[in-house]
């Protein structure tokens, strides 16, 4: 049994970071007097959804007020952040007006759980009323015939879709630089990437351009950008949320996930989007609990709220190649969890390092198949040609980006006759091993923790010419997708960088369908994290 972590020292380092003479505190304090009312003072992250709901129901503010507050912030921040490929501001205003009319006419009962909540939707999720490109030029101008199930459920709960967020083309990338349209910057430092592939969704929530957002996570595409942008990101269990309407990258790994500025908001969102969908045969028919019901307000917490919670800290994630600042933030978080009453022990996952190559083989293989439909025949960009193969070749060569082509080639190779056993089949075997080793560990621990990424946000352009370095950055997250497990990323600290430090996220991994437990622990962790605020400096300048 590994020795328990030295709680005291960890706590010290935690405090040291959080109480340093950083500009973010000035930023935060100046924010409290800023007109943006939902951006709040330091301390435990409040629920924006709750406050919106309360103010709507009490009549304190109208949906139009709230919408225009977010839209004006969006307009001010968007030129530097560039989170959105498409902004549906007029539609959002119209929907807000209609909601106000309904509330005014006494229809408060009809106000859904997400009424008046502005949502950003990753552009690889289909939306009937807006273009959906998947970040790819080959779908430039494509407007789907239907809403993705997750989007439909959000709308039915009263949410207002404010626009489509930027991403690495079809979700393939870790920086959002792979978008066919624009580069999104990190609200904490505009010279840094927001992470990816759901970079636009993460930066939009971080910059409070919307309340919450939808992303997708195939190998870490929700969790890593959540970590880079200092927001909460949830990758649900495979099958927990319908994939119907999510442009498939790697079908056996893809999950629709969500971002919020608090665990409560994230939980609220999951409660709405989760559940069986007859349009997706891989969606689970397990009951969907109200994930908010276990989230206890901090002033009602007992002194050791995590008593009886066993936590394993994955040793393989704290070694070579991992930024020391990240390691110390995560260790500090671990000792914070211990302070809350849990038992934290080191755990090793022997097959951990095998996951990355297996992931890239499986994901690329499935991608090579899933992206075949972008052929220019029925929709999307078609390059006229005299001959059929030329039509296919030119349309795809023009419409698809570099990284996507590379993965299609890798996947096509891995599935080719004679190579299938050596690559695809082998990778599936590794996947089984990874799954087993998680199962073993999760028998002994309620939750496994690790960093969400080996580093904080890095510079734009830093890894564009080194795909292997970018792939290596996914080491913390891909195993979770291979095993199909749920994982929650909660901001837990900072490293040096930018004007106010760069955020670091703590990843908590649980057993299948244990989202409720992850959210409960994440919420307690978040609400008891003193003196840290994850509002980016960008907002202070406004």
């Amino acid at each position: 049994m590994p020795p328990p972590l030295q709680a005291h020292r960890m706590l010290l380092s935690h405090r040291r970071i959080s109480s340093g003479p950083r500009r973010r505190f000035t930023a935060v304090s100046s924010l409290s007097s800023a007109p943006a009312k939902t951006v709040v003072a330091p301390g435990p992250a409040p629920s924006s959804i709750l406050s919106i709901r309360e103010s709507l129901l009490s009549g304190e503010r109208t949906a139009v007020d709230i919408t225009s507050e977010y839209l004006s912030r969006l307009r001010r921040t968007e030129p530097s952040v560039r989170s959105f490929i498409h902004v549906a501001d007029a539609a959002a205003e119209r929907e807000a007006e209609e909601l106000d009319r309904r509330i005014a006419s006494g229809g408060k009962d009809a106000v859904g759980p997400l009424a008046g909540v502005l949502v950003g939707v990753k552009d690889n999720l289909c939306t009937a009323a807006m273009p959906s490109t998947g970040g790819s030029r080959i779908l430039d101008g494509f407007q789907p015939a239907y809403d993705a199930t997750a989007v439909r459920r959000l709308r039915e709960a009263g949410a207002i879709v404010v626009g489509k967020t930027n991403l690495d083309e079809f979700g393939m990338g870790s920086t959002t630089e792979g978008s066919g349209f624009q580069v999104t910057t990190n609200p904490w430092d505009d010279s840094c990437v927001p992470g990816g592939s759901s970079g636009g969704s993460a930066s939009a929530v971080s910059a409070r351009q919307c309340v919450v957002s939808l992303g997708s996570d195939t190998g870490g595409s929700v969790r890593q950008p959540a970590s880079f942008c200092g927001v909460v990101g949830l990758k649900p269990t495979y099958g927990r949320v319908s994939r119907f309407g999510l442009m498939a990258y790697a079908s056996s790994l893809d999950v629709v996930g969500c971002f919020g500025s608090s665990v409560f908001d994230t939980a609220t969102m999951l409660s709405v989007i989760a559940g069986h969908d007859k349009m997706d045969s891989t969606s689970s028919s397990n009951d969907v609990p109200d994930y908010r019901s276990d989230l206890v307000s901090p002033n009602l917490l007992e002194s050791k709220p995590l008593n009886n919670v066993r936590i394993g800290i994955i040793q393989e994630t704290l070694g070579e190649g991992v930024d020391t600042g990240v390691i110390s933030s995560v260790k500090a978080a671990a000792s914070h969890l211990e302070q809350l009453g849990s038992v934290v022990e080191e755990v090793t996952l022997p097959s951990f390092s095998l996951g990355l190559p297996a992931y890239y083989i499986l994901a690329s293989s499935e991608a090579s198949s899933n992206l075949s439909r972008y052929d220019g025949i029925r929709y999307g960009k078609q390059v006229p040609a005299d001959e059929l193969n030329e039509l296919y070749g030119d349309s795809r060569a023009n419409g698809l980006g570099h990284e996507v082509k590379m993965r299609i080639l890798m996947g096509t190779y891995a599935l080719s006759a004679g190579y299938y056993d050596a690559y695809y089949k082998r990778a599936q075997q590794v996947r089984t091993l990874v799954k087993k080793s998680f199962e073993e560990a999760l028998k002994r621990y309620d939750v496994l923790i690790s960093p969400a990424a080996p580093s904080a946000a890095y510079k734009i352009g830093e890894k564009t010419n080194d795909p292997l370095a970018m792939y290596a950055g996914d080491i913390m997250t891909v195993n979770v997708n291979l095993a199909g497990l749920p994982a929650l990323v909660v901001p837990c600290g900072f490293v040096e960088g930018g004007s106010a430090g760069l955020p670091v996220g703590l990843q908590m991994i649980g057993s299948p369908f244990s989202e409720g437990n992850l959210l409960r622990i994440g919420h307690i962790f978040e609400q008891t994290l003193q003196d840290l605020s994850f509002v980016p400096p960008l907002l202070a300048d406004i």
Binding site: G134, P144, M279, T282, S369, I377, S416
Partner: protein, 547 residues
């Protein structure tokens, strides 16, 4: 390939209602010619291979000396489920192009397949009917290739674990083709989806895509290479069609493409165990075409062997050309096509329980082979057996006629004779006529009991077929009861003899053939109702007595 390829379809406006997609898209251009009127061939009995092949067979037999053909068949059976295999679109042959489509069968971004449970049921039924082992766990795979009629760039199919495998089919070769019982092995039956259709412009300058058929469920049946002649292959195909129709899983219509056979043919010297180089033949839309195409191909290959040009037989796909009665090279295969199969991640495994299979097994109808053996045991001739079991509607009619007590041989004769002739003339199916099995059995009984003559029965039958009613009512209405009173017949005979003194004189002069004439006159006088037996007896006695 007609080029350049234009955008055959545009993204239609889709409305969502109750989780189903429907479309209001109008046809793209007026000159689509695919809208053939709904054919009624489904109701016609499967065409026998007869006229087709006799000639070809003779030619083939002459040329096969020293060589043997090896034939295997891949049959695609389109299922007549209400909705497609993986979405809730309907499929009706001949609909306006691109009217029964949705994001899923169009391969739109984000759309996912959901398996139609009925497809599994059909597959299990057919698997059991073909005496296969049913896989309790099977899965779907993606078969990947690019073609404009394949919206997703892959076909959802089954690769290494088909739903059924290792079966066989038994059949009887009609006497005119040499007769005999055969058993041909079935390698596998698997589920997959159909592709759309390309419609090439007359000028050849562009093509259009119709995705109505995309996603329609198919069962692919792969045979063992057990056939040796065109006839055997055609009879195999016809038996598959019978089984499909008996089970009601599809309409088996070859003209509509609901049953498609791709044939692999190779030739080898007799005694050699390795197979020769195989050639695939497509584009045959009748069983007789299959038989002729194979016999042509066998002759072509044997000729090359005999001329020491066997190396000119290459792995290729050839098309059967009906007008020239020849096969032509469509494409040469450059090595094996690599479809990069891998497990379909969007669909869970198909897991069956023994209860499910048993339930299907117990609901299976009697199949053609069992029917033929049963009819054979009744003492019917093989010709009768094959005819009656050919069409399940006919067999059902026959069986219920017997259930009402009719004599099997007589029922068979009436069905194969007058009834079949009527159906053929009027282009009807047996369930389109008003005659019921009960009335046929009544009619047969009336003949046996001497109430009506066979001749009268023919008259009644036409009435019953076209207008319905009962044998009794028709007999009464038309006053057709046979005259079996010897005195009445004798009176008529006397009258005829009196009325024809000249003929009577000739008869007495030795022209005894004239007895037929007198009989005819009496029958005429009785309006056909005189009992032929009594009539002949009395007439004979009278003529003899008068001598």
């Amino acid at each position: 390939m007609a080029l350049p390829l234009l955008r055959g379809i545009t993204t239609p406006t889709l409305f969502r209602a109750n989780g189903m997609f429907c479309t209001t898209q109008r046809p793209i251009l007026a000159h689509f010619s695919a809208n053939k009127p709904e054919s009624s061939v489904r109701t016609a009995a499967p065409k026998s291979t007869q006229q087709a092949t006799r000639e070809g067979q003779v030619v083939a037999e002459q040329n096969t000396q020293g060589f043997e053909a090896v034939i295997g068949i891949e049959t695609h059976v389109q299922l007549s489920t209400i909705t497609k295999a993986f979405c809730s679109c309907p499929y009706n042959y001949g609909s306006q192009p691109n009217t029964t489509i949705c994001p899923t069968c169009m391969g739109h971004p984000g759309a996912l397949p959901v398996l139609n449970a009925e497809v599994v049921e059909c597959a299990v039924k057919l698997g059991l009917a073909l005496n296969c082992n049913i896989s309790m766990t099977s899965k779907f795979d993606r078969k990947q290739y690019f073609y404009p009629d394949l919206p997703k760039g892959y076909q959802i199919s089954q690769f290494d674990i088909p739903i059924a495998e290792k079966g066989y089919v038994d059949l009887d070769i009609p006497l005119e083709f040499g007769g005999g019982h055969r058993r041909f092995g079935i390698t596998r039956v698997h589920m997959e989806e159909d592709a759309g259709k390309l419609l090439h412009s007359e000028s050849g300058s562009y093509s259009q895509v119709d995705l109505n058929r995309a996603g329609v469920p198919l069962l692919e049946i792969v045979s063992e290479p057990d056939m040796r002649t065109g006839i055997e292959a055609a009879e195999y195909g016809a038996e598959i069609q019978r089984v499909v129709r008996y089970l009601g899983v599809g309409n088996g219509n070859m003209q509509e493409g609901s049953l498609r056979c791709d044939v692999n043919v190779s030739v080898r010297p007799i005694g050699q165990s390795e197979f020769g180089t195989k050639v695939e033949i497509k584009n045959m839309n009748s069983f007789s075409a299959i038989s002729r195409a194979i016999d042509y191909e066998i002759s072509r290959q044997i000729l090359l062997h005999k001329e020491s040009q066997a190396d000119q037989i290459v792995q290729e796909t050839r098309l059967w050309d009906e007008s020239s009665q020849k096969t032509f090279t469509m494409r040469k295969k450059e090595g094996l096509a690599d479809y990069r199969y891998f497990p379909e991640p969007d669909l869970p495994e198909v897991i069956l329980t023994t209860e499910y299979i048993d339930e299907i097994r117990s609901s299976m109808p009697e199949l053609p082979e069992a029917k033929r053996r049963r009819y054979e045991n009744m003492g019917l001739s093989m010709q009768d057996v094959i005819f009656l079991a050919n069409d399940d509607n006919v067999a059902h009619f026959f069986d219920s006629t017997l259930e009402h007590g009719a004599d099997a041989k007589m029922a068979a004769n009436w069905i194969m004779g007058d009834i079949a002739a009527y159906l053929k003339d009027e282009k009807l199916s047996i369930h389109d006529i008003k005659l019921t099995p009960l009335e046929l059995s009544e009619m047969i009984a009336s003949i046996k009991n001497g109430i009506i003559s066979g001749k009268i029965a023919k008259e009644i039958l036409v009435e019953l077929i076209s207008k319905g009613g009962t044998v009794k009512s028709v007999i009464e209405e038309k006053d057709l009861v046979q005259i079996a009173d010897p005195a009445a017949i004798e009176a008529m005979v006397d009258q005829v003899l009196t009325d024809n003194p000249k003929q009577l004189e000739q008869y007495r002069a030795g022209k005894t053939k004239l007895q037929g004439f007198f009989a005819g006159q009496v029958m005429k006088a009785s309006k056909g109702k005189a009992s032929p037996v009594l009539l002949n007896k009395i007439l004979g006695e009278k003529l003899k007595g008068d001598c």
